[in-house]
């Protein structure tokens, strides 16, 4: 139904007249002519055959116009309709009196159609059409040219119609041009309207997003109750105060915003110490020079996180982990700072309890081991009651395992120290050659007993690094002891020390069972044991490499490992050189 209405609208559209609409005056005029002939006695059909041909051709043209309108893909052929009309009207004119027919005026209808088409060529077509229509009676011998008047009529009338066609063609051209302009304007208006709608839609969407973001921000702002978020201007005057800050300090935002400075909540001595450390950086406030120290890192564009002490109005204090970041305005200029702080009182307490626990474990595990090892030694050293070889062997096993347990306790305690960040280093300039040689020598008896060749490749001139010789020795001991554990009898472990421009490189290479590539990145994790270790029942708990890595990292060094299963493993320790290298003593 909708399609049908659309077609009817298309047919009746005036700015794009359809073939049917353009044709419609012709059959209507023909019908009026027939009615006049039927009703007016003086009007008669002089030649029925020509009249019928004329009516028939106009009817065919009308049917075609309907067809072309219905099937718009044939509309390019629509020009044949007025051409048929010319012939049809010419024939009807010949049948209704020829040159004397009062229906000659109908010729103007196809002339209008043809002349209104785009292009000057249609003027000529209109002229030819008019000439055919007017001359038809003469061409087919229905009428004879009897005098000069007939001849002149035969040429003069087409000329008049051609003039009319020229005018119509020009008017049509101007109309088309105006229509095109109007259409262009209408299109532009449509596009602008469309753009306006799009902008409105985008604006609505942006507003919706803004509202959602605003709701989210307000939600987050209200939800952060365990951390204080304080915003300030460049002088430290508070302009934002979240519920977390209210909870932390017992002050509402009304009591803080615009009335208090952020440094009011700091210990002045801490700010002073920090300012001294930073050599009193230039600040944006003269009210408290410590504020400049507080925001110095953030002012330079970096986020800073460090521990401070906050002070409440009642004088009570609590430790916080505080992050300071810069706020900027639309121009990218510093507009103030954001202070996000978490109360770490509980963390400190947990850390203290952990230290206590470590101390307790240290005491409780090492004391019984002292007894075990001490009494074993007394038994072995008892000259008055010497033990048999077999008994000495049994005691040796017990002693070895007690030492193993002691090492494990030591490793666990060390790991706990590393985790809590309380990993003491007694650093000084040390000759690595001495430490590496000592580690190799202490491992030599074990290597010899296991049937493994231990090779050392040490330089004549020792690289010097800044470090703790005991800890570094522990790291190298771990690596060599690991290599020996993972190398079968008959294998080789090579320990080398080399020097690059900036670093000393210690490598421990074995010809052992190797480590699967997929496990290499987990190797330094606590309690991780390689599948080759568990498969071959190599003793250990998986702390040695963790400790070694921690020691190397604490010395600003790096560790690297390369391994191939069944071929061997190479661990490298890269330590930064001290500024000068000295010759070994």
């Amino acid at each position: 139904m909708r399609g049908l209405l659309e077609r009817i609208r298309h047919i009746l559209t005036v700015d794009h007249p359809s073939p049917a609409l353009k044709q419609s005056p012709t059959p209507i005029a023909l019908i009026i002519s027939l009615i006049l002939i039927w009703t007016v006695p003086d009007l008669v059909i002089t030649d029925g055959s020509w009249a019928i041909v004329g009516i028939g051709l106009v009817t065919i043209a009308t049917v075609l116009s309907a067809l072309f309108t219905w099937r718009s893909r044939y509309s390019g052929w629509a020009i044949v309709i007025p051409v048929i009309d010319f012939i049809g009207i010419g024939a009807f004119r010949a049948g209704t009196g020829g040159t004397a027919s009062i229906f000659s005026a109908m010729i103007i209808l196809p002339v209008v159609w043809v002349a209104a088409e785009k292009g000057r060529g249609y003027i000529a077509l209109a002229g030819v059409g008019v000439a055919i229509a007017l001359m038809l009676p003469y061409i087919f011998g229905v009428a004879q040219i009897t005098d000069a008047g007939d001849l002149i009529r035969g040429f003069f009338s087409p000329v008049i119609f051609v003039f009319a066609a020229v005018i119509i063609n020009e008017l049509a051209r101007q109309s088309r041009s105006q229509l095109a302009s109007i259409r262009s304007l209408a299109d532009e208006k449509e596009r602008m309207l469309q753009r306006t709608f799009e902008y409105a839609s985008q604006l609505e969407e942006s507003e919706s997003r803004y509202r959602a973001a605003d709701r989210l921000f307000r939600g987050v702002w209200a939800a952060v109750t365990e951390q204080s978020v304080i915003g300030t201007d460049v002088t430290g005057l508070i302009d934002a105060w979240n519920p977390g800050a209210t909870k932390m300090f017992g002050l509402t935002w009304r009591q803080a915003e615009g009335k208090r400075y952020v440094f009011d909540f700091h210990v002045p001595e801490e700010l002073e110490v920090r300012a001294r450390e930073l050599n009193y950086p230039p600040g944006q406030t003269v009210l408290n020079p410590g504020f400049s120290a507080l925001v110095e890192t953030a002012r330079l564009g970096d986020a800073e996180s460090r521990e401070w002490t906050y002070v409440r109005d009642d004088g009570s204090t609590f430790p916080v982990s505080l992050s300071v970041t810069k706020r900027t305005n639309e121009d990218g200029q510093t507009a103030g700072y954001l202070f996000v702080a978490a109360d770490i009182t509980q963390e400190r307490e947990v850390s203290r309890l952990k230290d206590e626990f470590v101390g307790l474990i240290s005491h409780e595990l090492r004391t019984p081991l002292s007894s075990i090892l001490g009494y074993l030694e007394l038994m072995k050293d008892d000259d008055e009651h010497p033990l048999s070889d077999e008994q000495m062997q049994y005691l040796g096993v017990a002693e070895r395992n007690a030492h193993r347990l002691l090492r494990l306790v030591g490793d666990l305690l060390f790991t706990a120290q590393v985790e809590s960040g309380k990993f003491p280093l007694d650093s000084r300039e040390v000759e690595l050659e001495t430490i590496v040689r000592a580690a190799v020598e202490s491992a030599r008896p074990g290597a010899s007993a296991a049937g493994i060749t231990l090779v050392e490749e040490l330089p004549a001139r020792s690289p010097v690094t800044h470090g703790d010789p005991v800890r570094l020795g522990q790291a190298f001991d771990n690596l060599i002891s690991n290599a020996l554990k993972f190398t079968p009898r008959g294998g080789t472990v090579t320990v080398s020390l080399t020097e690059t421009e900036k670093d000393a490189v210690i490598t421990v290479t074995d010809t052992g069972m190797g480590i699967a590539e997929s496990e290499l990145d987990q190797l330094f994790a606590r309690f991780f044991r390689a599948s080759t270790a568990t498969r071959n029942a190599v003793p250990g708990v998986g702390l040695g490499l963790t400790i070694t890595k921690a020691i190397v990292t604490a010395h600003h060094g790096e560790m690297d490992v390369q391994s191939e299963e069944g071929v061997g493993t190479q661990f490298s320790v890269i330590l930064p050189l001290a500024s000068v290298a000295i010759s070994p003593s």
Partner: protein, 126 residues
Amino acid sequence: MTARIVIADDDADIRALVRISAVRAGFDVVAEVGDGDAAIAAVHEFVPDLALLDVSMPGLSGIEVCTAVRADPALDSVRILLLSAAVGEASMASGLAAGATAYLSKPFSPRDLAASLIELLGEDAS
């Protein structure tokens, strides 16, 4: 004259181990106590050549005993050897700062203990 030693450790097995090591090295163990207060009393009573104190004891710690002994000029001659199961140099430093003459970590070798005693007491050993 045989050098005299007071031993203070809350662990009876360790006390016995220390005693055996000291006696084998030729020293005279005049008192064995299990807590800090008793250690101070024993040091005052016997004024030994050396007090061997465990750092972690019930009541007063070995370091507190050490501080108390060092605070008494009458006990200036008493050398103090601290025994501790704690690890790390901080622990040793605090012991030495309290006035201890030497510091030995647990677990210790009886041989090393005897060597330390001989080193500290010198020719006082018999």
